[in-house]
């Protein structure tokens, strides 16, 4: 090799160099292209939120179906994975499913292919809890003015509601609060949540989720912004919450985009109260990442009847290959639908729930978990979701309203003392 190289550089003929250059220009892209097409190919990909599927389940699915996994931060980013054909199965929310249908990104499901003895989406409704059924039948997918069945296009995964959890002895007025107005009234006047040298309240740093609280307070339970609502109007709604929190004093609340940090602060008692999703509250009640032992009478929740409820579903990419489509039905069947309560711990559905610990959507699993899984009543209460009405469901909002809400959120934070 060295001889050839020395011969090359010692030659006075330019001809060899020109030939070499042309060969390199042709060869290098061919080599790059072949690497691109062959090495480490991820043919079959499931995209999900992070830590939203059990690692042991991932390994089993990877081994059995050659499934690879991808993650995304927000459901808006997930759309890019669909549109660029990066993922075949994608997790989404109920309102985003409608958007993706309208954008022509997802395909209609054939429920007979799940091999669970169900042939249609209409029959499949009964597989799921009442709350989930309410959500599934609440959206008009095709814009014809009639409510459709989301099961035509999606398979429910987990459901969650946005609640308030607090440490210390039970505050009766708070536990009995029926709606966010009553809950916020108690929270904003209670000494337990007044800051000392640091805030005693924490919340997820998410404008849309937190907006649901003052929106429900102001609009009689409606958690959604109106179409093309201005920054001023959205800010004024959010100020209802900031005005209440400011009664507690300066630096009363902190925000964190990482839900894990929120639940760990609550679990370690760095804060006395947290606004978070019920699945995170459940993990906090177990002691969070530190697995701190928390007494039953030291952890409580408030579930207002106008709390935001979110349903996550899996959808199939419209451009999936047939081979992947067949595998996708089997994967989802194992991951979301096949539960056997005579041997529950042998099922992937149960194994996955055991890790994720959000409220399951499958009726049979829900009943089994409610009866057998939890150590105490508080954990059971966190797990249950029963108050679902159309006002408590997020709907799709246009980009202008999304942008206005971001600005309104900044105004809200600036208004906090």
């Amino acid at each position: 090799m060295k001889k050839i190289f020395n011969k090359l550089i010692n030659t006075n003929s330019k001809k060899y160099w020109i030939i070499g250059l042309i060969v390199a220009i042709i060869l290098v892209p061919i080599i790059l292209l072949s690497v691109s097409l062959t090495v480490n190919k991820r043919d079959f990909v499931l995209a999900n939120y992070q830590s939203y599927i059990s690692p042991s389940v991932e390994k089993k699915l990877a081994k059995e179906y050659g499934l690879s996994f991808d993650s995304f931060e927000t459901v808006e980013n997930a759309k890019k994975l669909l549109s660029s054909n990066t993922a075949d199965i994608v997790a989404t929310t109920s309102y985003e499913l409608v958007n993706w249908y309208n954008d022509g990104l997802i395909q209609k499901l054939d429920w007979s292919k799940f091999n669970i003895g169900i042939d249609s989406a209409a029959d499949a409704l009964n597989l799921f809890t009442d709350s989930v059924q309410t959500i599934l039948q609440n959206f008009d997918i095709d814009g014809d003015g009639n409510k459709d069945n989301l099961l035509e296009y999606g398979i429910p995964y987990f459901i969650q509601d946005f609640i308030f959890a607090y440490r210390g002895s039970e505050i009766t007025e708070l536990t009995n609060a029926q709606n966010w107005s009553q809950a916020i009234e108690v929270i904003s006047n209670h000494d337990r949540f007044k800051p000392d040298s640091k805030p005693k309240l924490i919340a997820v740093d998410d404008a849309r989720t937190m907006y649901s609280i003052p929106s429900a307070m102001e609009k009689n339970g409606d958690i959604n912004p109106h179409k093309n609502e201005t920054i001023e109007s959205l800010s004024n709604t959010l100020y209802k919450l900031s005005d209440s929190i400011n009664k507690l004093g300066n630096n009363a609340i902190k925000f964190n985009a990482d839900a894990n940090a929120v639940l760990n602060d609550l679990a370690t008692n760095n804060v006395n109260g947290a606004f978070l999703f019920n699945g995170d509250a459940l993990y906090a009640s177990y002691g969070g990442d530190d697995e701190i032992v928390i007494n039953d009478d030291d952890f409580h929740i408030v579930k207002p009847n106008d709390a935001l409820v979110a349903l996550d579903l899996f959808v199939f990419n419209k451009n999936m290959t047939n081979d992947n489509l067949n595998k996708a039905y089997q994967v989802i069947s194992e991951l979301c639908l096949n539960f056997n309560d005579s041997n529950p711990e042998d099922t992937m559905v149960y194994e996955n729930f055991d890790y994720v610990n959000y409220t399951c959507t499958l009726q049979s699993l829900y009943e089994y978990v409610k009866s057998n899984y939890f150590d105490n009543q508080v954990q059971e209460q966190i797990f249950e979701i029963s108050n679902v009405n159309s006002n408590s469901l997020e709907v799709s909002i246009d980009n202008i309203t999304k942008s206005n809400l971001s600005f309104a959120w900044i105004n809200f934070k600036n208004k906090l003392h």
Partner: protein
């Protein structure tokens, strides 16, 4: 007392600065031995310590795949970027002054341009060309993107040394019968070698570490950076373990390199001293 303190500060402020830089790295290595939580996160108060994180790291297929992908990308990007940069630097140096100004300016534009802008422009380019002919984004698009943003950095690293190169060395080489190509490989490249090594190190790190551009053009390919940057729920134990391995490797590498340099310098110094004594006729150095 004040003068003692200021004396001490003058002697040790660099050590203090380095300590501030390296303390987080030390913490990373320490925490990599804290066993992970149920959700696979590193926790501030672990109940046990051990090597479990390292054992699970090398059995995690998703991580191993992403690491392999990253190494393949770096393997392709580095020689191509550095070769293009070296040839560019030589060509610019060998040409009119105006070319130098233009080249410097264009390289700097690429460097000061926010990565997100570069990423979006590359995505649009690939969408209108690569995707339009029915191919998917993946290794090819990642490698091309990395070459495009790493090459200016390699140019900026190599060019200062190129500027100091004496033109009369080229003339002398030609007078002695060397062709242009021979001169380039036998005279210019050895002269530029320290900068080329520096450029290689820079390109490797930048390509290994890049997330913004990679995430936009990666298609179905995952890399270590995309796996790490998409951690949204806590800091995963595998990320801390992997970071710790990299830190230890670099510390060992730098230590070995420093030791070799130290030995080399010491030998040279000893040689010089013995030469000096021989010239002055003081006797052999063994008597000193």
């Amino acid at each position: 007392m004040k003068s003692n303190f200021s004396k001490w500060l003058k002697k040790s402020y660099i050590a203090i600065l380095l300590l501030i830089i390296y303390v987080p790295l030390v913490f990373t290595v320490i925490w990599s031995f804290a066993n992970e939580s149920a959700k696979g996160n590193i926790v501030p108060n672990p109940d046990s310590w051990g090597f479990q994180n390292y054992l699970t790291l090398f059995t995690d297929n998703e991580f191993l795949n992403s690491l392999l992908n990253t190494l393949i990308i770096v393997l392709f990007v580095t020689p191509i970027s550095v070769s293009i940069a070296t040839i560019t630097c030589y060509a610019v140096w060998n040409n009119k002054k105006s070319f130098e100004t233009v080249n410097q300016g264009l390289s700097k534009i690429s460097m000061v341009n926010p990565e997100i802008i570069t990423g979006i422009s590359l995505t649009l380019l690939f969408a209108s060309t690569w995707l339009a002919i029915g191919l998917d984004m993946g290794f090819f698009t990642i490698i091309l993107s990395h070459i495009s943003f790493c090459t200016p950095y390699a140019i900026i690293t190599i060019y200062p040394r190129m500027q100091k190169f004496k033109k009369n060395l080229i003339d002398a080489s030609k007078d002695l019968g060397y062709s242009g190509i021979k001169t380039f490989f036998n005279i210019v490249i050895p002269y530029l070698m320290p900068s080329i090594v520096g450029a290689i190190a820079l390109v490797v790190v930048m390509s290994f570490d890049d997330f913004i551009i990679t995430n936009l053009v990666r298609g179905r390919v995952n890399t270590v950076s995309t796996e790490m940057y998409l951690m949204t729920k806590g800091i995963k134990a595998w990320a801390v373990s992997f970071a710790s391995i990299l830190i230890i490797i670099f510390i060992i590498f730098i230590s070995i390199k420093s030791f070799i340099l130290y030995r080399k310098n010491k030998k040279q110094k000893d040689k010089q001293i013995s030469k000096m004594f021989k010239i002055k006729g003081i006797g052999n150095e063994k008597n000193i």
